[in-house]
């Protein structure tokens, strides 16, 4: 009898879990986060992360016999041009689960047992808490992606648009080429670059490649297949990292427009960018220095508490981090019509 009961409960639970997966909220895409360097200052005696930016020294000069090199032309001090300070701050998000909701998620378990499990921190209550924590972690990722995308607006260089300013025009290949020119002209530390645009920007490019009516550069895509048409082909993006193909060998990613910055009158334009992709921990062997980093001061701390007065479970997740720009030279913003 006991076996039958447990099987029934398990079946209910499985159905519940399956329906939850089907009805899970639609997730935002995290397109830029994978291209940020990472740093961790947990346990250090400072709340700030300071990076010293040094000035570059000049080229070596001819040595002359008997001449004092240090006097003329003079040894150059390895000066500090500026400091970058990134101060992680605590972000918080929480979910309040009513006991009714918890009870519904655990069919067959008496309410008293549900409350007792939560109050005593019994692992039986963990599956539901885990669901809550997943939501909270998503909330942090979404904020980090938003903060990172917002950095685009603050890039000094801007790819030139052909629109009558200050309202930018639809995206064109000329703008992408201008962005490449400006970024490569800065002699970036790495030439591993990515375009981060939104779906409207991708659609603009596809329209140019397909139609080509009056579109500068479009004819190169219709000649003997010599040009890079990868962005034109849709691919099932199971990983949902936003990869849409490449232009001139540079990967193009489409971000989530809901968290991308806007520009100009009536927020009519979208702010994308061509950036140098960062990989790995900043400065670590084998890592690649990108345009920005995510600095963590302490890891996510997750906790929950039963509130007797409201008969609900409060699940709270705190995480101390910040997203900061490394170098202005590692990005060029691309502004275009957002509709």
């Amino acid at each position: 009898m006991a076996q039958t009961t447990s099987t029934t409960v398990a079946n209910w639970l499985l159905t519940e879990v399956m329906s939850q997966i089907a009805l899970d909220p639609l997730r935002g895409k995290y397109v830029l986060l994978p291209f940020l360097n990472m740093a961790d200052i947990s346990g250090r005696a400072t709340k700030n992360r300071k990076i010293r930016k040094k000035t570059a020294i000049a080229a070596a000069v001819d040595d002359s016999e008997g001449g004092d090199f240090a006097a003329s032309p003079g040894a150059v001090a390895l000066g500090v041009a500026s400091n970058i300070t990134i101060t992680p701050t605590t972000k918080v998000q929480g979910v309040e689960l009513t006991t009714d909701a918890i009870e519904l998620a655990l069919p067959g378990v008496p309410r008293s047992q549900v409350v007792a499990a939560i109050q005593s921190g019994n692992p039986a209550a963990l599956p539901l808490v885990r669901d809550a924590m997943t939501e909270i972690l998503e909330a942090h990722y979404l904020r980090a992606e938003t903060d990172a995308l917002a950095l685009f607006s603050g890039l000094s260089e801007s790819a030139s648009s052909s629109g009558s300013n200050p309202t930018a025009a639809p995206l064109s290949f000329a703008v992408l080429l201008d962005a490449m020119l400006k970024l490569l002209d800065n002699n970036p530390a790495s030439e591993d670059m990515v375009f981060v645009l939104d779906e409207v920007g991708i659609a603009d490019l596809r329209a140019l490649a397909a139609g080509g009516s009056g579109a500068a550069l479009s004819s190169i895509f219709t000649g003997n297949g010599a040009a890079d048409l990868a962005f034109f082909n849709h691919r099932p993006d199971v990983s949902r990292n936003g990869f849409r193909g490449s232009f001139a060998g540079i990967p193009i990613y489409a971000g989530n427009k809901a968290v991308m910055a806007t520009a100009n009158t009536g927020a009519a334009d979208r702010v994308g960018a061509l950036i140098v992709a960062g990989r790995g921990e900043t400065g670590a062997p084998g890592s690649v220095r990108g345009f920005a980093e995510m600095t963590e001061r302490y890891e996510p701390s997750l906790g929950f508490q039963y509130d007797l007065s409201t008969d609900s479970l409060l699940a709270v997740g705190r995480w101390c981090w910040a997203v900061g720009e490394h170098t202005d030279e590692h990005g060029v913003k691309i502004i275009y019509d957002k509709t």
Partner: protein
């Protein structure tokens, strides 16, 4: 504030730790004519700048060398064009501590002397015209390449049509049209 205890669905509640109010700052750049929106998150409950405020401070600190009227200047890349109103959730209120106000005064409402603004505007015009020139040149080159490509395609089409015409046998008695 937290919602009532008997709602059916799990509820999200606003942060009770720090200030979550925001406003949009519009920034003008020296290198282009776009006006970008930037979110200012203000300071938190301890008076520390939020990470969004840190980013804004950093952006406002960016400088660029520019030659105006034969003189070298180091000018700010971004200036504030408009400061939006604070947006608050129903349960939130603005902090009113002196430190908060002082910080706002320093970072957000930074005044620029008129002479510097005049130089800045001139430098902006220079940067924009250089950029536009270069884009026009790129577009011109692209159009030339395009028309050359089109001419090539047309000449190929003409050649293939003329070949077809010359090799096609004429049918006796048929209409030669």
């Amino acid at each position: 504030m937290r919602e009532g205890p008997h709602s059916a669905a799990p509820l999200f509640f606003p942060s009770t730790r720090g200030v979550t109010v925001k406003r949009t700052i519009k920034l003008i750049s020296i290198k282009d004519a776009n006006v970008v929106d930037f979110v200012d998150g203000g300071v938190d409950r301890e008076g520390e700048p939020t990470s969004q405020r840190q980013a804004l401070t950093r952006i406002l600190g960016k400088r660029v060398p520019a030659v105006v009227d034969g003189k070298e200047h180091v000018l700010p890349v971004f200036l504030i064009s408009e400061v939006g109103e604070w947006r608050l959730a129903a349960s939130e209120r603005l902090p009113n501590g002196d430190e908060f106000l002082a910080y706002e005064q320093d970072v957000i409402r930074r005044e620029h002397p008129e002479r510097m603004l005049a130089t800045w505007k001139k430098a902006q015009a220079q940067f924009i015209s250089q950029s536009t020139e270069r884009r026009r040149y790129a577009e011109h080159q692209a159009e030339q390449a395009q028309s050359a490509d089109v001419a090539k395609v047309i000449s190929q089409m003409v050649r293939s049509v003329s070949q077809q015409t010359s090799t096609q046998p004429q049918r006796k008695g048929g209409l030669n049209v």
